[in-house]
């Protein structure tokens, strides 16, 4: 039998259940698996714990009331530094949070990836990260001569991870050709089930792994399913194939102005087919021609 992990976004959502812990790859406005996030928004899955270097993925899940708890170091739209839907959810007290330093977050994923209960760090000392309500950070003492007391950053064990890549074959061999892979590899190792949306599914030969070795994210045994979703990271970037859509980001930011504005956004950009979404955001040629933003 031929190994074939191709599925639809709805097939992915069918694997999710209420209360799950879901890790989302990418970073802020960069290479977020937005087609999968929009599919979650259309489902009745709820009470999720979301673990993310957050951008519009977190904002949309908050706006749709899907988030019970957020594990984060920031939520930002980069060029619009403050994420309006995340802010609204925080300020209304609607979500529980575990706030981390970016590096602690990395360490938590790495501990999960290594199947360790924690990794030691100094990060958090002297700050309110280690005094926040809702989680009691514990310390560990070095058993060696230094005897240093360190923070034990717990493993961020996930039920499911969602990531976005440029290419895969049907077996789940992935290429992430963006210049920054972020921590997506750790996300794939921190979850027993991993679903990747990809710009294009190609033959194994066409991945040309020999030439693209440094873009191969992870061995395919980590990947449960692949979803072909052209422009599936939009409005975030999947450079070099397309850049951040600043104009759409503005439309999205404006959708936080009122419940009606959010309902309009949902109607136009979320409760629609992939084809209608692409048409609503200007079509493939427009997205391929988006200018590279400056940071």
């Amino acid at each position: 039998m031929i190994l074939d992990k191709r599925m639809s976004a709805d097939d992915v959502v069918a694997q999710l259940s209420d209360g799950m812990t879901i890790g989302i790859g990418g970073w802020a406005t960069r290479r977020k698996p937005m087609a999968l996030v929009r599919a979650i928004l259309r489902s009745d899955v709820k009470d999720l714990t979301v673990v993310s270097y957050g951008g519009p993925d977190v904002g949309m899940l908050c706006a749709a009331g899907k988030v019970k708890k957020l594990v984060f170091a920031f939520v930002s739209l980069d060029h619009y530094p403050l994420e309006p839907h995340f802010r609204a959810a925080r300020q209304s007290g609607a979500i529980e949070v575990l706030e981390l330093d970016e590096g602690m977050f990395h360490w938590g994923l790495r501990a999960a990836a290594m199947h360790l209960p924690f990794l030691p760090t100094r990060v958090g000392i002297g700050t309110d990260i280690i005094t926040q309500k809702g989680f009691t950070f514990k310390t560990v003492t070095s058993p060696y001569d230094d005897g240093e007391e360190l923070i034990a950053m717990p493993a961020l064990n996930l039920d499911v991870a969602l990531i976005h890549a440029q290419r895969s074959d049907q077996k789940g061999n992935l290429l992430v050709t963006s210049p920054d892979p972020f921590f997506d590899e750790l996300f794939t190792r921190a979850a027993p089930k991993v679903y990747a949306s990809v710009e294009q599914v190609v033959s194994t030969a066409d991945l040309d792994i020999e030439a693209n070795a440094r873009f191969a994210l992870v061995e395919r045994a980590r990947i449960t399913g692949v979803v072909e979703a052209p422009f599936g990271a939009h409005p975030t970037s999947a450079n070099p194939e397309y850049h951040l859509d600043l104009k759409h980001l503005k439309t999205y930011v404006d959708s936080a102005a009122s419940p009606e504005a959010w309902a309009d956004y949902r109607k136009t950009f979320i409760d629609v087919s992939d084809a209608d979404y692409l048409a609503a955001v200007g079509g493939a040629e427009t997205l391929r021609a988006l200018p590279r933003p400056v940071y």
Binding site: S76, V97, R122, T127, D128
Partner: protein, 262 residues
């Protein structure tokens, strides 16, 4: 001859932060600190490594705003690399917190309670780690009591010189807070027990004005506090070349001159 603006003066003041750092990653968040790091690399310390704000180190400083010419890059600064580099201490950041207190503790997370904030901002980002592994400096475009708060900041994202929060009574080994540049003055932590101290006043600003706009008592470097240097014509020419889009003109309202009108 062009007249120096307050923004030019601030850029020159920021540049001093990295002057004697040797070879490390200089990160200036926001246009003026970023231009300060660019000026430091150009005038004082060519060994500094500066980035495009995204994922590459530039051979020369990359101007803020749109690219005006070809850029030669010299290295990769993706996030995993940045984390690895900063844990080794070879970085000096200059950042712009929302709140700052007498200990040098900084906040960019929330105003109000953490459970149900009055204002939710970014989240702690990399501040907790940065604050205990490498030197940090600060820039505030508006020196006032909302920024320089009376008590502790609402959520401590960056550790400061606050013994009550030290683990086992010892300051974190990498805690090294350097300078604070504002629209009014330059300060450091050189007072008794790391008290924040005014080291120079921008032309036309008095110590009393700075103190009145600060929520905690300040030390002073001398009875007669020196004036922050105004950039020379040569320095202004370099700043203009590093900022071809003139982003620096947009930071302060009406882009005032370095020398206050009397």
């Amino acid at each position: 001859m062009t007249e120096a603006t307050l923004a030019d003066l601030v850029i020159l003041a920021c540049a001093q932060a990295w002057r004697h750092d040797g070879e490390l990653m200089a990160t200036g968040i926001g246009p003026l600190p970023r231009l300060g790091s660019a000026l430091a690399k150009t005038l004082y310390n060519p060994a500094l490594q500066t980035t495009d704000g995204e994922y590459l180190y530039g051979d020369e400083p990359v101007p803020p705003g749109k690219r005006t010419g070809p850029i030669v890059y010299e290295g990769v600064a993706n996030y995993e690399r940045v984390f690895a580099a900063l844990w080794g201490g070879r970085r000096h950041s200059m950042v712009g917190p929302v709140q700052f207190d007498r200990f040098g503790q900084a906040n960019i997370s929330v105003i109000g309670s953490h459970d149900k904030p009055k204002s939710a901002m970014l989240g702690a980002r990399g501040f907790p780690g940065n604050s205990i592994v490498h030197p940090n400096s600060f820039f505030f475009p508006s020196h006032n009591k909302r920024a320089f708060v009376e008590g502790e900041v609402d959520f401590v994202c960056m550790a400061g010189y606050n013994p009550a929060r030290y683990m086992n009574g010892k300051a974190p080994a990498g805690l090294d807070l350097r300078v604070i540049v504002t629209n009014l003055c330059v300060m450091d932590f050189g007072g008794p027990d790391h008290q924040v101290r005014v080291v120079s006043l921008h032309p036309g600003v008095t110590f009393d004005e700075v103190q009145d706009n600060t929520g905690f008592p300040l030390a002073r470097i001398a009875d007669a506090i020196p004036a922050t240097p105004v950039p020379t014509d040569e320095q202004l020419a370099v700043i203009a070349r590093l900022d071809p889009n003139n982003v620096r003109a947009t930071i302060f309202k009406d882009n005032p001159p370095a020398q206050r009108a009397a």
